[in-house]
Symmetry: C2
Subunit: 114 residues, 2 copies
């Protein structure tokens, strides 16, 4: 199985973050993940309130989030555990992720960054 690609913190580009979060569905997934205490599995995140995201789309959303540097994914058996990289991202781009989530009306002020 191919290893999952995660950019190093210093290689994360703002344009990749912005592109990844220019899709409201991806933002909803990311915000849900940011509010999850332990790593959210893909299947647990497929249900976004009023609609269910097809597994293939979900898998692509996770890939874009991961390769932009927004999340870290880890295979655990047949499942994938995902967590945000908010604490390190906030060091590199202070306030960026929080301001973006707030603009979308997601988690204003209560995003866990530490």
């Amino acid at each position: 199985m191919r290893p999952l690609f995660h950019p190093a913190l210093e290689d994360i580009k703002p344009e990749a973050i912005l592109y990844a979060l220019s899709d409201p569905e991806r933002v909803a997934i990311f915000a849900k993940l940011a509010g999850t205490a332990c790593g959210g599995t893909c299947s647990a995140l497929a249900d976004l309130g009023d609609r269910v995201i097809p597994k293939s789309s979900l898998s692509n959303h996770f890939k874009v989030l991961r390769e932009s540097g927004l999340i870290r994914s880890e295979r655990q058996g047949v499942e994938m555990r995902n967590q945000t990289r908010c604490p390190e991202l906030d060091e590199r781009f202070p306030g960026l992720v929080r301001a973006i989530l707030a603009a979308y009306g997601q988690f204003p002020g209560e995003l866990k960054t530490g």
Copy 2:
């Protein structure tokens, strides 16, 4: 001549802002405009330090910036005057534009918002 489209403040969508600013060249134009006291003309903004942007690309960049709600453009004779909508944007999405420009290393902390 067709009137230029500008979204009303309440119609500006975060996904459009993020998409528009997910292109480093567009960010450079926007940042230069944000630092210009009076409205910058297209031709004055074509020179971004180390490279010159072709007029056709520049025109498209301005269209994306305008239609996302980031700038306001006004025809003045044969020229187009452009200015950012930072003050109103900052009311609607507090800190967003500033955090994005800072992430790109553009104008950290000295963006005019009022």
